[in-house]
Symmetry: C2
Subunit: 333 residues, 2 copies
DNA sequence: CATTGCATGACAAGCGATTGCCAAATGTTG
DNA sequence: CAACATTTGGCAATCGCTTGTCATGCAATG
């Protein structure tokens, strides 16, 4: 169970006939040690089964070789890809990956950050629920990379919702729709604001009416109320805040005998697991989720190492693309 | 970004007029310090914004207050619940939660364990792919809790597949099916063996024929081959290794114009996200996923603290229940 | 009132690395 | 061959906290 006695730098040093510092440098700063010596030390280390103790390393150096990712809720398949991308990137760089859920709560988020502060080199905040000011404050003390969220001056990666939403509007417009309704996500959600902004701007351009309803909980369960609200609105197309909500809407519409897309078109965001096999299959805006997670960790890693050429926070915008399936169709006559 | 200077036990000690050890005990061993002193120290700590450095604590004490969970692949929604349950339980106990993916590889799994060994108090291994011997070896040096896997002498939690599979067989038998085929998961999968064992035993009892085909990759993409194989077998009911595979099968059958459940009944395991809204909605064996994750972490925590009353490895068996939906029906005449 | 027993708190030695500084060894150059 | 520039390796302090050991002061006991 518990290890009796681990081999340390000293064991290796003694066995190899060098100083402990040399062993340390062999691992952490190889160019400071002679190639031959290095090889020898590594061989001895190998033979003794030595691995540097990450805690001791972190304590002294301040580098923990660990990043933490905070996600609102794992119940949303949307985050799978992002989580996986982040984990993969971290692992590839020999970085330990900590995952936490914030239950959609800004307080929990903040709390977890404080709690983990000393144990990690940085945080990936996915769809953070914290207000701008709080986030900016935290960024002063911690290394942050945001996903799907923009805060002035902070680095991060977003999936291009603006142009994606335009595509969505164009798609609907081309099908003859003259009015659409956006069923909004959580109140404080940056993404919801962003999407609505793009949607309404696009709608105006195309000369079609756009209204916003909500907020609705961005879950399948939120679909009931959302669908009913959409029906009352009289619009011929609904754009849901995300696929979870859209799927819930499809269900409710089926229950109420509203035919999709004949009577009403429905679209979502994220292209989550299941979006292709619900009925009808969902038209949705897809983005490179995994890439987003990867890029966010990348940002963290870069900031940690070369803080050179830092001409501003690193911002990454990833392209989105519209996946047209069966839930959208010509506007009813 | 980087903290300039953190407050330490010494700062607090000086400010509070006590020894550093007293401050330390105030946090780690409260009963060793006078209530009044304790209150005072805590107040000072609060005022100074002091939090013990988890790394330093871990380095000295050997307790890291961290657990790691290793999961084959996050692409399978099946694991969401388990991950979430584990994270919740850990967080509730003020334990940091590390998540890693093993890509269905025993080597990766083993490697990650070695790598994290010093940084965590224990591992939750979900659907571990490692052979029994390896697992037992590792358990000698590390604190393990298995999920959905049984290895002699090791603690863990499983969802009762045996009785669940019986329920499944009974359900099919009662619908008049006289032959079923099990489309098996990965070759080395303990779960696959377990399910087949229970399925075939149950089938024999009910006097119906059971065959096993595969292995198939336990993913939606594996469904094509699986469905075709099932059709050739001539059985009237197929039981897929998991819902992912089952959903893939449903798709393929739809493509081929085979009507489910009229011509063929299909069932899966796990009751994953989407199992209720695929077409037809999937009959599947559901289990308390979240509870499993929670229980596994619990085991780890108990082992770490009270290693008393240890009359054997702790084993938890969680009940499963059959969710009957539309993908199973009367056997064709 | 002297004695014994406890509960507290202080000291100091680690836990296992990293790293600034300096000395020795090596190689280069005139 | 002397003089100097570079490497390379070693010493020792340090990161922030835990914990065994021991001294102290107090209350309880006879």
């Amino acid at each position: 169970m518990t290890t009796p006695k681990r081999t340390t730098v000293y064991d290796v040093a003694r066995e190899a006939g060098v100083a402990a510092s040399t062993v340390s440098r062999t691992f952490g700063n190889p160019r400071r040690v002679n190639a031959a010596t290095r090889r020898h030390v590594l061989a001895v280390a190998e033979r003794l089964g030595y691995h540097p103790n990450p805690l001791a390393t972190a304590l002294q150096s301040g580098r923990t070789a660990t990043v933490a990712m905070l996600v609102p809720d794992i119940a949303n398949p949307h985050f799978f890809g992002t989580i996986r991308g982040a984990e993969r990137r971290a692992t590839a760089a020999d970085i330990t990956f900590i995952l936490g859920f914030t239950d959609e709560s800004a307080d929990t988020e903040r709390d977890k950050i404080e709690r983990l502060a000393r144990s990690v080199d940085g945080f990936v905040l996915a769809s953070s629920r914290m207000p701008d000011a709080t986030t900016a404050d935290l960024a002063r003390e911690h290394n942050l990379a945001l996903i799907d969220r923009e805060v002035d001056g902070l680095p991060g990666v977003v999936i291009d919702n603006a142009s994606g939403s335009r595509q969505l509007v164009d798609h609907l417009a081309s099908l003859g729709h003259r009015s659409l309704v956006y069923l909004s996500g959580p109140h404080g959600s940056w993404l919801a604001g962003e999407r609505w902004r793009a949607l309404s701007a696009g709608a105006e351009e195309r000369g079609i009416a756009a209204t916003r309803l909500g907020p609705f909980p961005p879950q399948v369960a939120g679909g009931g109320a959302a669908a009913d609200a959409a029906l009352v609105s009289g619009a011929t197309a609904v754009v849901a805040h995300n696929d979870l909500l859209a799927i819930g809407i499809l269900r409710r519409l089926a229950e109420r005998g509203v035919s999709v897309p004949d009577q009403l078109s429905v679209a979502g965001y994220d292209d989550i697991f299941g979006a292709d096999f619900c009925v009808p299959a969902l038209t949705t805006l897809a983005g490179p989720q995994e890439e987003a997670g990867r890029a966010a960790v990348e940002i963290l890693l870069n900031k940690a190492s070369a803080r050179a050429a830092e001409d501003g926070p690193r911002r990454v915008v990833l392209p989105s693309h519209l996946v047209i399936r069966d839930s959208t169709g010509p506007a009813p006559a």
